[in-house]
Symmetry: C2
Subunit: 356 residues, 2 copies
DNA sequence: TCAGTTTTGAGGTACGCACCTCAAAAAATG
DNA sequence: CATTTTTTGAGGTGCGTACCTCAAAACTGA
């Protein structure tokens, strides 16, 4: 086969596009990479040829040629709860593998529930060093502004875990928190003896959209289906185990007849400690969020009765895939990127992974 | 930078390995690709250099150079149940994307529960055309033999959905079916009024390992925790909706007091039809397997009360990744490939994807 | 030590693409 | 029309690897 053989039956290449469009390789290249100096008519002829052949750029080859390195950054709340820790582990764990795929990731921890701090970090970001950011943070005007600015500078932005729909973020990687709250209520309703009782809802902060949505969903289903259940107003634990452990005695002093707890936020360690100390753990039905070493153990031993979770490994991998697709201007496989609302009972917990 | 510059701070390449090992590029290449004509001492020097540098072959570049095309085949049971159909959809859907990644996949349907047919297809497989096979089929001696043969011919073999541990298959992509059965029992036990009643278990075939394991797990938990529940012997539906619909009336004639059904196999269509016709659907608690358009609708409307499921998209994508890793002799990310036992209640069903 | 064999090195081509330069061709301008 | 400006083509180099050839060097055995 000569230098420019026909390449029968295989994927079309830039050479095929050039031949079909009746232009030179250089011109196709200019069009594909948005370089100037091509007439509009010619540009269209090239795109027609691309259409006709069904040409798709070989990203692996392109990245090889370009020496491209993707640079992504995660911004996580500075909180010592297990969910965030698990995200960190996943990020570190995957970074070695990603190095082989020309993508560098790093993460930074930002004071939790502090929109100003987050906004200021965002505004200092340099498009030269960062191609995309994944943000796990509160939705406020300042953050929205910062995101919209960063988008203008050409970076891709992903909302992680908690959506930021008011901003121009490219995508949200996380679960449908309203549905998660509804699921929790469905479980709680079934698990409470006689379908009735007084339920405490623990939340993180009113600034956290994910927590608000969970509460909303929880209330919906309780109202729809479980008339006998009385839901107290939310206890704000700020995702902080220690704070939570301090607050709970007061709540139970006021409401000693609580029979159910929906722990919709992070900070399970504090809750578990409290339950153990007070021996309340087999008197109170607990539906909690996020499967971690701790919550897994609590489920195993009956302190927790069900766990709603989202796979942190999936969250991180999905974020990377979406960010990469965004900077490459490629489509996203929605069903692959949809994060499931996992329901764990004692029986279906996945085996514990060794942390790397 | 000259032709053989130092490449500081970046990933080491074959050139770096050659330099450090004090041999030529050609020799490194011979070692890496297992070509003959290199002394053992030299081979070791090369491996030492690889170790020292932490060199990892750039698979993208290697595949580009080699013009490699992965060729994988799925073998699915010839059954018109929705689960298998969903797998087919996923395979077809992903094949376009895979074409861009130099991998071709196809599937073939084999008479269900017919070990001879499966074994004969396997033995006819040509390593020239197929690099790897994913098998969803029964575990018998004939199949085991055929798999071991095929392995000897250099193909990679994955057990899909139902494990084939007696054979030399490289990997199993699917859920822990024992745990799935246990989960089903846990749900059933909680959902049955007063925690007691007579439960029918529907299975596919005694030849199907996954079904056997589910039954086993189900019995375990019922015995451990739900003394008031009486479980009947399995009804074999052969994953065939029509057959199942024909068999069920007889069972209910004999046991009119059935209050729970664990449908551990495929063929939900037949079950749903029967329940609707006989208006049993709100008298009987049903825990079924696999989220499909049909079972989703049944859950939505209360005919089913819970669904245990495995994500077919994940199954297919995972299979491909593992097969590719196998033929490339690369490690597998276990936590990414672990298929979750999904529990779906009405509230946490994922939105319906448009089939492609 | 010499011929024979094995091992090694040097070099090239290719994969599909990005990016560069220079000159030729075509179009726009006055 | 000639001149300037814009557009296009031809060609090369490199990304990291595979795979090939040929000759030089290093070992082997007798």
């Amino acid at each position: 086969m000569g230098k420019h053989g026909r390449n029968i039956g295989l994927k079309p290449t830039v050479n095929d596009v050039a031949r079909v469009a009746g232009v030179s390789l250089a011109t196709v290249d200019r069009v594909l990479n948005g370089r100037p100096g091509v007439r509009n008519v010619t540009i269209e002829r090239v795109y027609d040829a691309i259409q006709e052949l069904g040409y798709v750029r070989d990203t692996a080859a392109a990245n090889l040629a370009r020496g491209r390195v993707y640079n992504f950054q995660f911004l996580l709340p500075q909180s010592n709860n297990e969910f965030v820790t698990s995200l960190e582990h996943q990020i570190m764990g995957i970074s070695k593998v990603l190095a082989l795929e020309r993508t560098k990731i790093s993460y930074e921890k930002i004071p939790a529930f502090n929109p100003q701090a987050l906004a200021s970090i965002l505004s200092r970001m340099d498009p030269e060093n960062v191609d995309g950011v994944a943000i796990f943070g509160p939705e406020t005007a300042a953050v929205k502004e910062a995101i919209d600015q960063i988008k203008k500078r050409g970076m891709s932005v992903i909302a992680l875990v908690s959506d930021l729909p008011s901003s121009e973020r490219d995508y949200f990687v996380g679960i449908d928190n309203l549905a998660a709250g509804r699921t929790a209520a469905q479980l709680m309703g079934h698990f409470l003896p006689n379908g009735q009782g007084k339920v405490l809802v623990i939340t993180g902060s009113m600034l956290a959209r994910d927590h608000l949505e969970r509460r909303q969903g929880f209330d919906q289903v309780i109202n729809e289906s479980f008339g006998g259940v009385d839901v107290l107003s939310s206890l704000e634990g700020r995702d902080d185990p220690d704070l939570l452990e301090k607050l709970l005695p007061g709540v139970f002093a006021k409401h000693p007849d609580i029979t159910g707890i929906y722990s919709s936020a992070a900070g399970n360690a504090g809750l578990i400690n409290f339950l153990r100390k007070t021996s309340l753990d087999d008197k109170v039905m607990v539906v909690a969020h996020e499967l971690t070493a701790l919550s897994r153990e609590a489920l195993e031993h009956g302190s927790f009765n069900a766990i709603i979770s989202q796979d942190t490994g999936h969250l991180v991998r999905s974020t990377i895939r979406v960010l990469r697709a965004n900077v490459d201007n490629l489509p996203i496989n929605l069903s692959q990127e949809r994060i499931r609302i996992d329901v764990y009972l004692r029986e279906n917990m996945p085996p514990l992974d060794e942390k790397i």
